[in-house]
Amino acid sequence: MELEALQQIYADVRGLGAQIVVITPELERYTRALHKKLNLSFDILTDLHLKIAEQFRLVFTLPDYLRDLYKSFGSSLDRFNDEPEYRLPMPARYVIDEQGIIRAADVNADYTIRPEPAETLRQLRSLSAAAAD
């Protein structure tokens, strides 16, 4: 759902001179299929073994009891992400300016809460307004 929602703001984001990338631990053979299926205009980047997510300090390990539950549902993180330890990034969205400084950050440990794309657009607009001053 989140990727489709980002696709809907893509044209506006580009109109503001900005770009979108999605970073996921998922392996390329899966991101390729997902990208195609959703017909996305932005890249999905594979962060193998969460090296970049670690640098943003977003990584946690699923507790054993949750790992067992997901396995019982048939979810296999170890296959999709090559993560035998069942580590994941928290959902997070950042707006980074041209100097590489984080200008907006939305991080939530509750994976059922995702930042609103409309809010991301507002943040980009205020960034470009500030740059025009």
């Binding site: 770009q19 999605v22 996921t24 990208h35 993180l77 707006v95 059922t112």
Partner: protein
């Protein structure tokens, strides 16, 4: 159109009702809530990079196995980076 969070909340409501098509058992939902609460309690959200920090630069492969560098992208303007746990 409904906001992303409204649609996520609808899904969550349907999933947690225990009704078809998901038929999620009550114990499973409780387990998920417990895990989220425990994760929040570790203070991990406060440790994540924040506004004002320098974003780490990255070089990663995209879905077509092309190498993408954040420094290249930032030369053209601001960058939105969304971390996604995958669709497993």
């Amino acid at each position: 159109m409904a906001s992303l969070q409204q649609r996520l909340d609808e899904f969550k409501k349907s999933f947690e009702s225990g009704a078809p098509p998901y038929n999620a058992p009550y114990e499973a939902i409780e387990t998920m809530h417990r895990a989220t609460a425990e994760l929040k309690a570790t203070g991990i959200e406060e440790r994540a990079l924040k506004v004002g920090h320098r974003a780490p630069s990255f070089t990663l492969f995209n879905q077509d196995h092309a190498q993408i560098e954040s420094t290249d992208l930032l030369r053209h303007g601001p960058l939105v980076v969304s971390f996604f746990r995958g669709h497993w």
